[in-house]
Amino acid sequence: MTAVIERPAAPPVRAPWRDRVRRAAIWAALVFVTLAVVRQVTGANALTSAGTVNDAIGLAVPIGLAALGGLFSERAGVVNIGLEGMMIFGTWFAGWAGYQWGPWAAVLGGIAGGALFGLVHALATVTFGVDHIISGVAINIIAVGATRYLSSRFFLGREDGGVNQSPSVPLIGRVGVPGAGGPLGTLEGKHWFLVSDLAGLLRGLFTDVSLLTILAVLLVPAAFWLLWRTGFGLRLRSVGESPVAAESLGVPVYTMKYAGVVISGALAGLGGAFLVTVYDGKFLENQTGGRGFIGLAAMIFGNWRPGGLAAGSALFGYTDSLRLREGSAAVHALLLFAAILLAILAIRAGVTRRWIPAGALAVAAVGFGVVFAVTDQVPAVLTPLVPYAVTLVVLALAAKRLRMPAADGLRYRKGETG
């Protein structure tokens, strides 16, 4: 009798990212169909209208750029709570360059301004070993005061300029797929189930889009490629996971950290420049409105990955667009959407016999359903909070296992062994 050595069956070889992409696509389709159902039931046509989609992207991009900035910094092991400040500098330098030399100069100015203060953050945290949070908070405080001071020096007395705003900056041009707007618009106007929803989505995505928006959206796959498919990205991530090991293999740790933080500042600055050149048409005090912090949160709940942070930013942009455009009625329809989605999650948990989460999700689903049924609209005073609440809840539910880079936020000294 021969001994049989049992081998565990080898798992089918498949690139893990393909699985992830497929899962994300299935979820996106599910969410979209649910939205279409809710629109049909409630008659809140704004849920999938081209305008909502278009503005959702516009509102998501600055948050997403800040989040991407956070990604580069934290993947290199430097916590960047100064994103907001770098974004503020981005808006100021964009305003300063933009009113003199046009919108594309504003974009460059914003990138340079953000990168400059990324460099300051890198100098403080990497070279001098300052606590990352303290340096970041300092940059946020400096940004507010310094831009006010700079404005009083450079903008006060110019036409349209003042201590709290720059002269006007021309907006960046908008483009679209030629000829797509008309037929899609007609189709959207019919309010057919799913067909009109799809038409609205496509019209929102492919007509009247700012060139900078296109560029910014492309930066998400570009960041993925750079960080996960190139040697540079591998080195950058390695210093965020284990700088000691990286150094022992000859990776220039300080250089990589500098690169990560400066790119981080540049991206946050680009987010500021986006506000100036796509929406606001000038630098304006407080115009960032905490987007740097929201981006940081989106990055964390997006599990330090480009896809996750993009999803978080898009979600925030969508809910913000919806509540700004249509107010409490459309937000009220979202309650039904939440109920259906939670019910699906509950069923999924039930199928896999995870009874406690299934029960909790079912209770939440019923709760949302009841609130939807017994109310006519969400109180107007609460609607501004909806984007924050929705993004927080959804990301918290979606992100079950968050894993930050192992050496994120830790001080690293050259030559120290761990």
Binding site: V163, Y279, D280, L324, T383
Partner: protein, 344 residues
């Protein structure tokens, strides 16, 4: 750790740089003349809005009443308002004017501790003290008039209101506007949207949000949008400019606080139908004049249509064809035939 402390201290010092006093304003002597202490809201002179309007009133008082003044503004976070007020009292300024309702809590305490000094506060009616005057505006009356204009110009019978922050002050604008629209035709639909709710006052500096809100209204059929959203208003104007460019020819925006036709850029000028003017300068000047004349004003000093404290703008000539109807509405309010609600 020492480095950390150094960086933090450096940051504070730099942040303080932003809080510069306005140049050429800090000189004054109180040799019997009118020595005014004026505390601006965050931003100070040069904000092209509320503070500048107050500054205009003060400048007029300097010229016509021979006033001297010390002008201060709080830090970015607005945490040192009480100190700024005390500083003005300590340097023997009388009267002391605080610009903006955010001074209310601090002014109440400082005024109670300094009964020998006269105070005035713009946009706050909550403080009742013998030495405090409340410079108030009947924003609802001016908003009523631009509501009439909006209703007369709207072909779609659908208009919109974009408020910066959902506070009682901005709701006065909303209430007046709605009443004005309904007075022309009760069937006209009025969309109402606020950008933020307190304590988030970011809605006054968020043109992107203003633009999205206005686009939403225009997409759903509104053709006149009135904003009471401070700096976010330029986003509302841009939304209307874009709607015009996209073929919606009869779309209009209505400005607020100042005659915004005069300060807007060239493309925006074409879409600003009128503006609801709130004359903070008149309110400040009138208070100072009364004070100079020996009166010690206290309690509500309401600036309304009658006193010229609020009004509507005619720059651009876009309301010339409906001017007689707006004037009739104005007369009705002044004569007391129409009472405009201050709450929606």
């Amino acid at each position: 750790m020492r480095l950390a402390a150094f960086v933090a201290v450096g940051a504070m010092a730099l942040a303080a740089c932003g809080n510069t006093e306005d140049p050429g304003s800090a000189t004054s002597s109180s040799k019997g003349g009118l020595a005014v202490g004026l505390a601006y809201d965050i931003g100070g002179r040069g904000d092209k809005s509320f503070n500048d309007s107050a500054a205009n009133g003060l400048d007029k008082a300097k010229k016509e009443l021979g006033a001297t003044a010390e002008e201060v503004s709080p830090n970015q976070a607005g945490t040192d308002r009480a100190d700024k007020l005390k500083g003005l009292v300590d340097s023997k300024k009388n009267p002391v004017i605080a610009v903006g309702f955010k001074y209310a809590d601090d002014l109440k305490k400082v005024a109670a501790a300094n009964l020998g000094t006269n105070f005035a506060i713009v946009d706050d009616g909550s403080i009742q003290a013998p030495n405090v005057a409340n410079i108030l505006f009947a924003e609802e009356q001016g908003s009523y008039l631009v509501g009439v204009a909006a209703a007369l110009k709207s072909k779609a019978k659908h208009v919109g209101f974009v408020g910066g922050v959902q506070s009682p002050l901005i709701q006065k604008f909303q209430a007046g506007f709605q009443a004005g629209v309904k007075s022309v035709d009760p069937a006209i639909k009025v969309d109402v949207q606020y950008l933020t709710a307190p304590p988030d006052f970011g809605g006054f500096a968020a043109p992107a949000k203003g633009k999205v809100a206005a686009k939403g209204m225009i997409d759903s059929g509104a053709d006149v949008v009135y904003h009471a959203a401070g700096g976010s208003g330029s986003g509302v104007f841009d939304a209307v400019v874009e709607a015009r460019a996209a073929g919606k020819a009869g779309t209009w925006a209505i400005g607020v606080d100042q005659d915004q036709y005069l300060t807007a850029n060239d493309s925006q000028k074409k879409v600003i139908l009128t503006s609801m003017i709130k004359r903070v300068d008149v309110g400040v000047f009138d208070f100072l004049k009364k004070f100079k004349d020996g009166e010690k004003p206290s309690g509500p000093q309401v600036n309304d249509l009658k006193s010229g404290g609020v009004d509507y703008a005619t720059s651009g000539g876009y309301v010339d064809d409906i001017k007689d109807k707006i004037e009739a509405a104005k007369k009705d309010i002044i004569d007391g035939k129409v009472t405009v609600p201050a709450k929606p």
